[in-house]
Amino acid sequence: MLPDVTAVRSLLSGVAEAEAECTSLGVVVHASSGDAVAILAALKSSEFDFAVLIDLLGTDLGDRVEITYHLRSFTRDEDIFVKSSLPHGGTLQSASGVFASALLPERETAELFGLVLAGHPNPKRLLTTEGQEPLLLRSVPIRTVKEVRDG
């Protein structure tokens, strides 16, 4: 389930500035947003064989948006999480060149967190219509029952 943290660290030391730690989530690699795609590619082609991008999600941390990439290796049955941070309205570099499975989740994340998608073959909105505010930002409120009732 958990890959060896020191092995991950030594693998990544040759790729980019990144720190790996073991948290309640599992092994998490923190990277700068510019290095994220390179780190994903390195993890994919390493001996860990993280061949699958299981999931991709954004989290609004208040001052910035954190993007979490969730990778899995079927051969060793291990998971690793790569996290990178972007400012609000920042540019999300597409990882679809490395993992085709990032195609749709990236569009969704960029749209729902108000990010700009770069390097994506089809950087359109996925779920909501044009002009809709980024719904998953914490600054966007949901309407209370009273507000809904009063229109």
């Binding site: 699958v52 999931d55 979490t68 049955d77 219509t129 998953l136 949901i142």
Partner: protein
């Protein structure tokens, strides 16, 4: 001009046609719109246009207590509500460190498998409709009806169950429900053989499915496919076996895998999964332990700050819930991995190059539920 038209017949040059399939169309299994561009009968490109069912489940989850998350997950993949509930309950339990009584584990497996058969039956019915058969649909609905009846007897609901909660399940198995399950198990294997002979044993259907919509092992992995779609491509990965949850570590079941990854393999894998699911149901009914079904929990759950990911094997693949807690009564971030989302991406890659006549069949073969994709 199409490359196929001869040079000298410029006036009869063929143009490309755009078919807007959906959003309301019997072959789209919900509200999925496919913009398909064709050159004659051949599909040149396909794009899925989503969003018709976006209800903001993730956003709502951030404003709900941890107890309430399963209720939201029911509305995601509405064909297999138990699995959604289970994934969110597992995530909360992992985050808070809740010990679930053994009987609840077994009931979760039991209901999960019953729900899996019900969901696969709905897929089986609609998939055959895509191939142009009608009769089998009503037989699949007959079996699904029996299963929904069981689910109703246990949970009180036919589709949005709200049954699995953090800490266990809300109700024990009643005598009536148990006898209903036993009655169902008596006939199900024979019914499944009947289904398999009728549809899968039909040579016309086999000819249509063999070699169509092939996803090889590598592209299945790079597209992030899970569940039956991945196993049909020859990757023997099943969350139930590889990361056991509920009572699966104590249960015996086989994991069917395919070889070529074409539509026929996906069909066969799902049919065999139903058989294995019935086997698990039988074991659960026999081995159900005694005891409580719900752990004692405070009214409001306040997990410590942290993050977790819990996944289950839903009928459509790996359904994972990613929770970020900030120490309050509501999650900071509630996200779920929808296996159908990745199947739709695979569909976009798979459709170009095939015939328009196969489009509906391929949409059916990857078994998507738009409600789950669009959150």
């Amino acid at each position: 001009m199409s490359p196929r038209a001869a040079e000298h017949v410029e006036h009869t040059a063929t143009g490309r046609m755009v078919f807007d399939v959906g959003s309301q169309h019997p072959s789209t299994h919900g509200l999925l719109r496919l913009a398909i561009e064709t050159d004659g009968e051949e599909i040149v490109s396909a794009e899925a246009c989503l969003g018709f069912l976006h209800r903001g489940i993730e956003k709502l989850g951030e404003h709900r207590r941890y107890h309430q998350l399963p209720t939201l997950m029911d509305r995601g993949d509405y064909l297999s509500g138990i699995h959604g509930e289970l994934a969110s309950a597992l995530a909360v339990e992992r985050l808070r460190g809740i010990e679930v009584p053994p009987k609840a584990h077994w009931l979760r497996s039991l209901l999960g498998e019953i729900n899996r058969i019900a969901s696969h039956m709905a897929w089986y019915g609609t998939f055959g409709r895509d191939a142009g058969v009608t009769s089998h649909f009503f037989y699949s609905m007959r079996d699904r009806e029996a299963l929904l009846d069981i689910l109703e007897a246990v949970t009180g609901q036919r589709m949005t169950f709200n049954y699995v909660r953090p800490g266990g399940v809300i109700a024990d198995l009643t005598v009536v429900a148990e006898s209903k399950i036993r009655r169902f198990l008596r006939t199900f294997d024979a019914h499944l053989d009947e289904h398999q002979t009728f549809l899968g044993g039909n040579e016309l259907l086999q000819k249509r499915l063999r070699g169509v919509g092939v996803i090889d092992r590598d592209s299945a992995m790079s597209l992030g496919l899970t569940g039956a779609n991945l196993r049909a491509s020859g990757v023997p990965y099943d969350v139930r076996r590889d990361r056991p949850y509920a009572a699966y570590s104590e249960l015996e079941f086989g994991i069917p895998i395919g070889t070529t990854g074409d539509a026929m393999d996906r069909y066969l894998v799902r049919i065999e999964e139903m058989r294995q699911a019935a086997r698990i149901v039988r074991q659960c009914i026999e081995g159900l332990p005694e005891g409580a079904v719900m752990a004692k929990l405070p009214k409001a759950l306040r997990p410590r700050e942290g993050e977790t990911y819990a996944c289950v094997e839903s009928p459509r693949g790996e359904l994972g819930v990613h929770l970020v807690a900030d120490g309050s009564e509501t999650p900071r971030r509630f996200h779920y991995r929808a296996p159908s989302l990745f199947a739709i991406a695979a569909l976009e890659q798979m459709l170009p190059g095939t015939l328009l006549a196969d489009a509906a069949l391929l949409v059916g073969s990857v078994d998507i539920v738009p409600g789950e994709v669009e959150r």
